[in-house]
């Protein structure tokens, strides 16, 4: 049989298997399904998307040219620009884009059932997220590795550059606030978890000193040692949690943990990079890559059953985890697993400086995002293997279900998801916690699901508590790394911006400027964290949508840049490739923003909630003070959302005007690519 016929048969088989798997996932009602159907449908979607859609984009839309030298080859300096093997770049890029987002978002969105999140993750990635990462990477490669902000300024105009700058600063601040809140909610009243996470700091410092003075440069070796020490810290945490005195020392309330994290964030961002940031970054990457691989194997090995229905009653917007209907809130809750504007920063950061052949941008940009999307599918599975009653007991805030176990269990059971106080106590004991109620934020629910999968693969129920705390450590470890690194990145951006106003503020070695800008960044995300901790609805209800909106608005900026470049390249007939996800994102984010600001339901609309609070008659002065603070927070959230939308409107209008000028012939289409230089790799390969 000729090879072409074999290929047709193979891809037909993939399409058929994918269709059957997806039918199993989508059409079963009222009965549990096996997670393997989800895995199969996802893998087939990715295979078809990569083979056909990304190839179409590569050949017809972007016209990738294997003979064109990349900046890694032309500007090779052994430091920033280094031609690197495509698989190595793929791994490097994936490690850079994978964070807590694809784990937390799908867990929160599971309140709608497993199906809405799954469909959005697959469709969003194949037609949106992968495309965005791929085109931005390629356009950055063709511009000597320029950043998204630089491309926005050059291709769209000064407004584009300014909006990209503000969007990035905003997203960093909101992200850090939400990420810190997730850690706080996971560690509150948990001496085991708090001890383990506290120990990661001296372990990281030890790794830094080991690398600097004992075995310079042996990063893999010290990461392995650090990993073993972290495992010992998890075991030590168990002992601490059972010790009468030590368990008290490591038991903290949410506000106390928030204050500690804010102080830590400020101190850590001022320490030398080699002492804390770099070694903990190595450690968290080591744990992250290993855990994701083991989780994938665990799911394939035990093939768990999903207990969450395809749709829950909360598709109407009355969900306890966060308020709002499927459209638009499912699509902003899940960002990183489907499409994330933050990825555009990575795709226009280090990665374009490592690509050795232009054709490899497809595998790195499109392919790594598919891998990230698969991580999100695993998070859906981890959330949905739990009984729905358990899921809602963990993720519902005290303001909705109350704090008493019996009341919470009765409320959740009344929704049609039976759970008893006894079940929850047994689960809490099994994972080594006093209680699992009101653990909003997604991390504890993901940890329970992951512990469930791991304990069925390795060690049985006896190791459930160890696996749970391993999962908490895994999430908290790289969230703390993000806090430290994000504060530094935000500080440098702020210094760059302020340097235009007063030169000394832009000097990154001037301590008054360092202290002031660090305080400004930490104070900003610390404020959001404090707001979340004090929120009776758990904080996630208002902050996660805010994060999702800002992340998707950044994706809107990236897609505006990509569409503008396609128009200028003379590829206007194919602009639907970036225009379709752009239109979708604009409709999702603008609807979500409008609803978050103006919706009449106080659980959704910031202003309606502020008005509801304003009508309350305070019982005493303390309550009056708390009310005025909550009202201010609601109005602040509304203003932040509004400002982001106005800025993105500005870049949208400027982009559309630019397209119109170019397409009508009033402006010459000039894309600022670096001129063609033939690659010497082609000569070496005889091409």
């Amino acid at each position: 049989m000729p090879r072409s016929a074999l290929r047709i048969l193979l891809w037909t088989a993939v399409a058929v298997v994918g269709a059957i798997s997806f039918a199993m996932v989508a059409l079963r009602r009222g009965e549990s399904i096996n997670a393997i159907w989800l895995v199969m449908s996802a893998l087939c979607c990715y295979a078809l998307g990569y083979r056909f859609y990304s190839k179409f984009i590569a050949t017809k839309v972007l016209c990738l040219d294997r003979r064109r030298a990349t900046p890694a080859e032309r500007l090779e300096d052994g430091r920033d620009f280094v031609p690197t093997n495509k698989w190595v770049v793929f791994g490097h890029h994936f490690a850079a884009i994978a964070g807590p987002g694809p784990l937390v978002g799908p867990v929160l969105a599971a309140q709608f059932g497993y199906l809405p999140g799954t469909i959005w993750i697959l469709a969003g990635a194949v037609f949106g997220g992968c495309v965005q990462d791929f085109v931005i990477l390629l356009f950055s490669v063709r511009r000597d590795g320029k950043s998204l902000g630089q491309m926005a300024r050059e291709e769209i105009g000064r407004v584009g550059g300014f909006v990209a700058f503000v969007a990035v600063i905003s997203i960093i601040i909101i992200l850090l606030g939400v990420a810190a809140l997730i850690v706080v909610n996971a560690l509150k009243a948990s001496p085991w978890g708090t001890f383990t996470i506290a120990m990661t700091m001296p372990i990281a410092v030890f790794m830094g000193l080991y690398l600097r003075f004992l075995r310079p440069g042996k990063v893999l070796e010290v990461s392995l040692i650090g990993f073993v020490l972290v495992l010992l810290a998890i075991l030590g945490g168990q002992a601490v949690s059972h010790h009468a005195t030590w368990s008290v020392w490591f038991t903290f309330t949410a506000p106390a943990l928030a204050v500690m994290i804010i102080i830590y964030g400020y101190a850590a961002s001022a320490l030398p990079v080699w002492l804390l940031l770099a070694p903990r970054d190595y450690l968290s990457t080591f744990v992250k890559l290993g855990t994701i691989a083991v989780l994938a194997l665990g799911i394939l090995f035990i093939r768990p059953t999903l207990h969450m229905p395809a749709f829950t009653r909360f598709i109407d917007g009355t969900g306890p985890v966060f308020a709002g209907s499927i459209f638009p809130f499912a699509f902003i809750t899940i960002a990183c697993g489907a499409i994330s504007g933050f990825h555009a920063l990575i795709s226009s950061g280090t990665t374009p400086k490592l690509i050795s052949r232009e054709s490899e941008a497809r595998m790195v940009g499109y392919g790594a995002m598919m891998a990230e999307s698969f991580v999100a599918i695993m998070a859906v599975i981890a959330a949905c293997v739990m009984q729905p009653g358990t899921y809602f007991a963990i993720n519902s805030p005290a303001g909705i279900v109350g704090t008493a176990p019996e009341t919470a269990a009765a409320t959740i059971s009344s929704w049609g998801f039976p759970v008893t106080a006894g079940d929850m106590q047994a689960l809490a004991t099994a994972v080594g916690e006093k209680t699992l109620y009101n653990r909003t934020g997604g991390a504890p629910a993901f940890a329970v699901g992951m512990a469930h999968i791991f304990s069925h693969s390795l060690g049985g129920e006896r190791l459930m508590a160890l696996w749970y705390h391993f999962a908490i450590m895994f999430e908290a470890l790289f969230i703390l790394t993000i806090l430290d690194a994000g504060t530094r990145v935000g500080r440098f951006m702020l210094q760059d911006g302020l340097g235009h106003i007063w030169k000394p503020l832009g000097r990154t070695s001037w301590y008054p400027s360092i202290f002031a800008t660090s305080a400004l960044i930490v104070g900003s995300w610390g404020y959001f964290l404090w707001q979340g901790v004090k929120d009776p609805l758990g904080g996630i209800n208002s902050l996660w949508p805010l994060f999702g909106i800002s992340n998707q608005l950044l994706a809107t900026v990236a897609l505006c840049v990509a569409t503008t470049i396609l128009v200028k390249m003379g590829r206007a007939r194919y602009i639907w490739v970036t225009l379709a996800p752009l239109v979708w994102l604009v409709s999702v984010t603008f609807t979500a923003s409008y609803q978050k600001i103006f919706h009449a339901n106080p659980r959704i609309g910031f202003l309606a909630h502020a008005q509801q609070l304003a009508q309350e008659t305070p019982a005493n002065a303390a309550r009056a003070h708390e009310l005025s603070r909550l009202i201010f927070n609601d109005r602040l959230d509304a203003v932040v959302t509004g400002v982001l939308v106005v800025l993105v409107c500005a870049i949208l209008i400027e982009s559309v005007l630019e397209w119109s000028r170019v397409l009508s012939g009033r402006k010459q289409a000039v894309a600022s690519e670096t001129p063609f230089v033939p690659t010497r790799f082609a000569e070496e390969a005889g091409q």
């Binding site: 280094v82 031609p83 690197t84 490097h92 987002g101 990461s223 190595y282 994330s340 990145v489």
Partner: protein, 84 residues
């Protein structure tokens, strides 16, 4: 150092990756896969960056060399965004 010289210095590192592609037997493919995973980890964990730093300056690994590498690398690492 000029681009051409840098290119020559890096050739040794690159040839390791290019050379292993030529092998075809199952055993060689397994070892190629293993080598790629190791190369990826070494890139992610900055061991390759340190090796390139030593090659560029033609110096032996030492505490002083690593301290110099950390100083040079700190600027880039501090500005490297971590994704959500």
């Amino acid at each position: 150092m000029k681009n051409e010289e840098v290119r020559m210095k890096n050739e040794e590192l690159r040839m390791k990756n290019e050379g292993i592609r030529m092998k075809n037997s199952f055993r060689d493919r397994v070892s190629t896969g293993f080598a790629l995973v190791l190369a990826t980890l070494r890139e992610i964990f900055d061991e390759n960056a340190y090796a390139r730093f030593l090659l560029l300056r033609q110096i032996e690994p030492s505490r002083a060399a690593y301290a110099a590498f950390l100083r040079e690398n700190a600027y880039r690492r501090e500005r490297r965004a971590r994704c959500c």
